[in-house]
Every structure is written in structure tokens, then in C-alpha cells.
């Protein structure tokens, strides 16, 4: 029997309003990156300025100071993708373990992990720096990647997710067929865990992409900087920087806009994995 699905206009309008609210500041970002620095401070913020300078802004941002933006972009890419995939793997593996298996101390460990993340990480920055400098990891990419591999939020997400997404009876059926636990994980459960895995990848990708505090503390050499730190270096150069850096503010804005694009692309690319849940005959948009 086909279910007649009427699109709700009320809901659509409500969501559209919400969409506008979400996009509104980004619209500002886009508009601002089409302006020169002069226009930025003299024209109405939500519409174009006197000159359309998007192309020249982009060119300037990408070539300034021997193309350091591109180096920063590469750094950010490496840090984020490595951390995202790594963190998602760790979180999925352990979330699954906690969700599907009963073992002594499970609840205690869960409580301990939860309790730990209630302490703000500001307290961790200097001690982590000290520990890393003892092993000589400071001012290396590892100083940024390693801490990002641990995503307690990702872990809890996968724990909650795995409980519902992976069917116990399917697991039992596989056991009866003689499969080992690891085999069950990789061949049976993983498919159901895919949407959650993708979610953690996405979240960690964004979090590491936008991470500012950790790389700022750990890195001294600008060749290792991610975009966030790099942009703030530019931004601080605009105020009282050399007279030759007159266009820096518009560059900061353009650089920021450019840095959001890969995340959007990643999102569009990853979101199709949400479609493949365990649902057969899913409700299609």
C-alpha cells in the first residue's frame, strides 16, 4: 500500500526561516569576501560594495607570502582527516565494545570517562605542553594530531548509537554460524554503524579543522600552522602591521570563507551515508 505523503507547507516555511537564520551570517561572510578592505568598512555589510573584488581577494589570499595559505590549508587537511578518521575508528571500536558487551567495570569506566570530560580543557593545555615537550613532540604535527584522536564525545555518540543500531539477534545468529567477535564486527555490525561512524568523522573533522587553541600552544613555526592560527596571524598583522599589508582584512575574510568550503564539500559527500541505515524501504526525501 502506498502511503500518500503530502509535503507540509507549514513545516517547510518554518524550516526555511530557520535556514535563513543559519545562512544569514554566512551570507555576510560571502558578501564581505567580495569587498576590498576599504569597502569593508565603508559600505553596508549585507550587500555588495562598490567594487566586486572576489577574484582578486582570492588570488591575494592564495599567493600572499609565498602561498602560505595553501601550506596552511594542506596542514589543516592532514590534521583534520587523520584525526577524524582515527578518532572515528577509536570511538566506533570502543563504543561498540561498551554497548554490545558486558564486562566488569564497564559502568565504572563509562562514568570515569564522562567525569573526565567535565573538566575544561583549558586546564590541560599547559600540562599537555609540558608532557609533549618532554618527549620532543612540541612544534610537530603530532602535537596537534595525537590529542585530536581522542574524542570522548565521539565515543559516547557511538556508544548510544551502537546500542540501537546493531541488532543483538543478528549478532547471535552470526555467532551460531561460527563467526568470531572481530569477524562479526567487521562483517555484520559495521554496516549498521556506518551513519554513526560518519557522524563522528564529520564532527571530529570540523572540530579539528577549526581547532585554534591547541595548535596555537603547541606550534611555533608557522609552516605547521593550520588555517585557524594562520588567519589570526594575518588578522593581527592588519592592526598596526606594515603598510604593505593594506589588504589584509579582506584577505582574512576571504581566507575564512575559502576554509569553510571544504567542510561543506565533506558534508555533502558524507551525508549520503546517512541514507544507508539498516532501514529497508526508507522514507525517501
Amino acid at each position: 500500500m502506498t502511503v500518500l505523503r503530502r509535503r507540509s507547507n507549514l513545516l517547510t516555511v518554518a524550516m526555511l526561516v530557520f535556514l535563513l537564520y543559519s545562512f544569514f551570517p554566512l551570507f555576510w561572510l560571502f558578501i564581505s569576501s567580495t569587498k576590498t578592505t576599504g569597502d569593508l568598512f565603508s559600505t553596508f555589510g549585507l550587500w555588495f560594495g562598490h567594487r566586486f573584488a572576489l577574484i582578486s581577494n582570492i588570488r591575494l589570499a592564495l599567493t600572499y607570502s609565498h602561498g602560505e595559505y595553501l601550506r596552511w590549508l594542506l596542514n589543516t587537511l592532514i590534521y583534520s582527516v587523520t584525526s577524524a578518521v582515527g578518532a572515528a575508528c577509536l570511538a566506533t571500536f570502543s563504543g561498540y565494545g561498551f554497548a554490545k558487551y558486558t564486562f566488569a567495570g564497564r559502568n565504572a569506566l563509562l562514568a570515569a570517562v564522562l567525569g573526565t570530560i567535565m573538566v575544561p580543557v583549558t586546564a590541560l593545555a599547559i600540562p599537555t605542553y609540558f608532557l609533549f615537550s618532554k618527549v620532543g613532540l612540541v612544534d610537530t604535527p603530532w602535537a596537534v594530531i595525537l590529542p585530536s584522536l581522542v574524542s570522548p564525545f565521539g565515543f559516547f555518540l557511538m556508544w548510544v548509537y551502537a546500542r540501537d543500531a546493531v541488532n543483538d539477534s543478528i549478532m547471535d545468529a552470526a555467532r551460531i554460524d561460527g563467526a568470531g567477535e572481530m569477524a562479526i564486527f567487521f562483517r555484520v555490525s559495521l554496516r549498521s554503524l556506518a551513519p554513526g561512524f560518519v557522524t563522528v568523522v564529520l564532527f571530529t573533522l570540523v572540530a579539528t579543522w577549526n581547532n585554534y587553541f591547541l595548535p596555537l600552544i603547541m606550534l611555533s613555526d608557522s609552516k605547521y600552522f593550520p588555517i585557524t592560527v594562520g588567519l589570526s596571524v594575518w588578522e593581527s598583522e592588519t592592526a598596526g602591521g606594515g603598510g604593505s599589508n593594506s589588504a589584509l582584512t579582506s584577505m582574512v575574510v576571504t581566507g575564512a570563507m575559502l576554509s569553510v568550503i571544504p567542510l561543506i564539500v565533506a558534508f555533502i559527500f558524507l551525508q549520503r551515508y546517512w541514507q544507508s541505515g539498516l532501514s529497508a524501504g526508507a522514507v525517501k526525501e
Binding site: Y212, S232, S236, G240, G242
Partner: protein, 459 residues
């Protein structure tokens, strides 16, 4: 999470001048470097032969600085001393660099051989014994080359020389000639004149203010206190005298507090979009700023080109010429370096060599601290188009000579900045009693200093 960039250092303290790029001839004599022939003066110094040997030993020095494109000046040094390679690292401007430096000093690892340090942060690091005394490396011979007050800033209580001055930011007044002309305001020579002009201007046009006293700009405020003759901090080792509400400071506070309360001066935080737009639209008719201000304006607010002029700060006493300073940096050799001789000589070369110092001015628009450069013809005669052809360099060079020599910074500047913003800044923004706020500022800072183990005397 973000580290807030302290407004004090944000202006990069790269003292700039309207002499950007083209049109400036560099005085010749590039090859005679003043450093290689450095004579060992003070006793217990490193001998010339040791120096020569060090300069010929293959060495790599790590140099933390945020001056853009400094590799050009560094190249001049490397050509002269090919055995020494400089690894230039930009760890961020101001606060990020200082944070990293502090953490590295604490950890005992990861410190650079040299670092850029702004004048106001020198005591913060000297108390941590973060600097190598440069006296054994012939630094004292350079004393006479620099403007007096600048040299005072880099010397310690027992004559230690902590760093070589690079650039400065003597304060002047940049004003909008067109707005002054429109409302028939003559350039105020004294603060009384300034106050009168402020009332007149605002009465004529309620959307315009004679100037903006930013409620977050503690550096400018210190500069004004400096000009007024205030001596808020006196430091002798671990004894700190605090006089944040001395007579001069109260004078400054009452003056500005009054104008703000009358509503004729605005107090918008500076270096925000709002403030930039204010400058662009002519909301502020003048800006009391350092010698780097002109180049900054030329870059940021292009639409107002040609409308600005420069003048000295208004004076407290008619006929006087005294100024304060806002900004500027030095290069210091950091404790823990394996190559103190090479590092010391590099710092000396970079900041005393005629070629490199001239380049600092023409390439990066840094305002000089060397007497010879300040008085050179090419420097003084430059006519700035942004300033309608005015010889802004010459004016600021004159101002530089009038900066009060007696000024010290505290070994806990960051805390002072925070306390100022919470007391004086807040009073400015809310139009309440600014003079009383200075006393609060002092008491907050005093209790901090005591908790940190300093012996504190208050006025």
C-alpha cells in the same frame, strides 16, 4: 578556543611611518657594518678573537619575530657572515609569542636563540631571567647611537643590557584637516585648547567627536600618562613601587573623564569593525597615536587619503614639547641559547647596521630608533601623499626626541592591562569617575603583586 589578543600588543608595535615603499632613497654605505668592528668595552667581556671565531663557526640561530619579510634584512647579515644561518620563525604577534616564550622558558626546552620583544614586556621576562645580558658582547658601545629614552628602556637596574632597540612609536596627533577646516578649528597646541575644540566641534556636529579615547586601549592611555610625566611603575628587582594614581595620572584621568562625561569625546573600543568605520566616515576627527599610525591609516582607511595631517600631541604647559610612546620592539637574546656570541652580534648588526635599519623603515615602515637614521636627509625629507604632502617623518623624528626618558614598565604588565580595563576602561565607557578608577586600578594591581611575592610600595 581562542587566545584573546591583547589590544596592547595588537598594533604590532611595529612603529610605522607614512614613508611606505616608493620614493625613499637609501643612504649608501651598505658594506661598512658597525658590528664587526665592535670594540670590547665593559670589563669581563668576550674578546674580539672569540667573537671572530664565533662568527666564522657554522651556526644556525632560531629567531622568533613577527616582522613581515624580515628575511630581506637577515639576508644582508648572512651575506656578511656566511657561516651563520638564521632560521626565522613567526610564532604569532605579541601575546601568542610571549605565551610560547614563557612556556618554553618554564619547560626549559624549545626556546629560540633570539626573540622580538616589545619594550613594555622587557621587565616581564627579565624577572624570569629570560634574557642574556649583552654587555659582555660589546653592547654598551652602541648606547649613543640610539635615542636616549629608547636606550633606557632596554637597560636594567644594574646596567644590564637586555636587548637592542629596533623601532619605536612616539606619539603624535593625526587629525582630519578637512573636518578642522570645515568647523574652523585650529590645531590645538595645549590640552586646554583641545578641550575647547572638542566642545566646539561636537556642538557644531553631534555625530563627530574630536577624538576617540578607546575604553580598551590601555597602551594609548599609558602613552598619555607617559607624556604627562606620570611614573606609575618603579621597579628595583623584586621591589615594585606603584603610583598609578599619582598627580600626573589623576590629571590625565580627570581631563579625559571630564570630556567623556560631557559627551564630546567617544570611547569606542579600537581596532574593531565599528571603529574602522568610524575612522572612515569621519566620526573621529583625530587620532592620538604612535608614529606607526600614519602607515596604518594609509593601509586601512584608503578612502580618506590626503585628508590627514600630523601634529605633535597637545601639551600640558604651553611652550613645552613632551611626548609619550606607544609601541616599538627590540631583539633580545634568550637564555639557554647555545650561541650567545653569534646571537648577540646578529641582534647588534640587525639593529645598528645602516643598510638593514634603513630597510626596516622603507620596507616594513618601522619607525627608527637610531639617531643617525632619524636625522638623515632622505628620511626627513619624505613627503607623504596620505598626509597631503606633509613631511610626517620629520615631525615624528622631532617628537621622538621629546619623549620623556623616565618611564618604566612593571614585571606583570598583562595583569595591569586586565586591571586597567576593568577599572579605568570601564569608567571611561560608563562615563563615571575616571580618577577614582585609577586608585582602584592601583589597589587591584597592588594586591596581585603582593600575592605574587613582590614587595610593594604604593603612593
Amino acid at each position: 578556543m581562542q587566545i584573546p589578543e591583547k589590544r596592547f600588543t595588537r598594533r604590532g608595535m611595529l612603529a610605522l611611518t607614512g614613508a611606505a615603499a616608493a620614493g625613499l632613497a637609501i643612504d649608501a654605505c651598505s658594506s661598512s657594518s658597525s658590528s664587526s668592528g665592535a670594540t670590547a668595552t665593559a670589563s669581563g667581556t668576550v674578546s674580539q678573537s672569540e667573537i671572530n671565531k664565533a662568527m666564522k663557526t657554522p651556526t644556525t640561530l632560531t629567531f622568533w619575530t613577527w616582522v613581515p619579510d624580515i628575511s630581506k634584512e637577515v639576508a644582508v647579515f648572512e651575506r656578511q657572515y656566511p657561516a651563520i644561518k638564521i632560521n626565522v620563525v613567526n610564532p604569532g604577534q605579541g601575546t601568542p609569542l610571549y605565551t610560547k616564550l614563557r612556556t618554553a622558558l618554564d619547560a626549559g626546552k624549545g626556546t629560540p636563540d633570539l626573540s622580538q620583544i616589545e619594550y613594555q614586556y622587557i621587565p616581564t621576562f627579565s624577572i624570569l631571567k629570560g634574557f642574556v645580558d649583552l654587555r659582555p658582547y660589546g653592547a654598551a658601545a652602541n648606547a649613543g647611537k640610539f635615542v636616549d629614552w629608547v636606550w633606557r628602556q632596554v637597560t636594567g637596574p644594574n646596567g644590564e643590557i637586555y636587548a637592542y632597540p629596533q623601532d619605536t612609536g612616539p606619539m603624535g596627533m593625526l587629525y582630519r584637516e578637512d573636518i578642522f577646516a570645515k568647523h574652523r578649528i585650529s590645531v590645538p597646541a595645549t590640552w586646554d585648547d583641545f578641550a575647547t575644540a572638542a566642545h566646539k566641534l561636537h556642538a557644531a556636529d553631534s555625530g563627530t567627536y574630536l577624538t576617540n579615547t578607546a575604553d580598551n586601549e590601555v597602551a594609548a592611555w599609558h602613552g598619555l600618562m607617559w607624556q604627562a610625566g606620570s611614573r606609575p611603575y618603579t621597579v628595583h628587582g623584586t621591589t615594585v613601587g606603584l603610583a598609578l594614581d599619582d598627580a600626573a595620572s589623576k590629571k590625565v584621568a580627570n581631563y579625559w573623564g571630564g570630556l567623556v562625561a560631557d559627551g564630546v569625546i567617544s570611547t569606542d573600543p579600537d581596532f574593531t569593525s565599528n571603529w574602522y568605520q568610524g575612522l572612515d566616515t569621519g566620526k573621529y576627527a583625530s587620532w592620538l597615536t604612535g608614529a606607526w599610525g600614519p602607515a596604518f591609516l594609509a593601509g586601512a582607511i584608503k578612502s580618506t587619503a590626503g585628508k590627514w595631517r600630523a601634529a605633535p600631541l597637545p601639551q600640558w604647559n604651553s611652550g613645552q614639547q613632551v611626548a609619550g610612546n606607544w609601541g616599538g620592539s627590540t631583539n633580545a637574546v634568550i637564555k639557554g641559547t647555545q650561541y650567545p656570541i653569534a646571537a648577540a652580534k646578529f641582534a647588534e648588526f640587525l639593529n645598528t647596521n645602516p643598510t638593514t635599519t634603513a630597510m626596516f623603515n622603507t620596507q616594513q615602515s618601522l619607525f627608527p630608533s637610531l639617531k643617525s637614521l632619524l636625522s638623515s636627509a632622505s628620511f626627513s625629507s619624505y613627503k607623504s601623499p596620505f598626509f597631503g604632502g606633509q613631511q610626517a617623518n620629520k615631525l615624528f623624528a622631532q617628537i621622538s626626541a621629546t619623549v620623556n626618558v623616565n618611564w618604566q614598565w612593571p614585571p606583570f604588565l598583562d595583569q595591569s592591562i586586565t586591571d586597567w580595563t576593568a577599572t579605568v576602561g570601564k569608567a571611561l565607557g560608563s562615563k563615571s569617575n575616571v580618577a577614582a578608577a585609577t586608585t582602584q586600578w592601583e589597589s587591584q594591581l597592588a594586591s596581585y603583586a603582593k600575592a605574587q611575592g613582590f614587595h610593594v610600595t604604593t603612593s
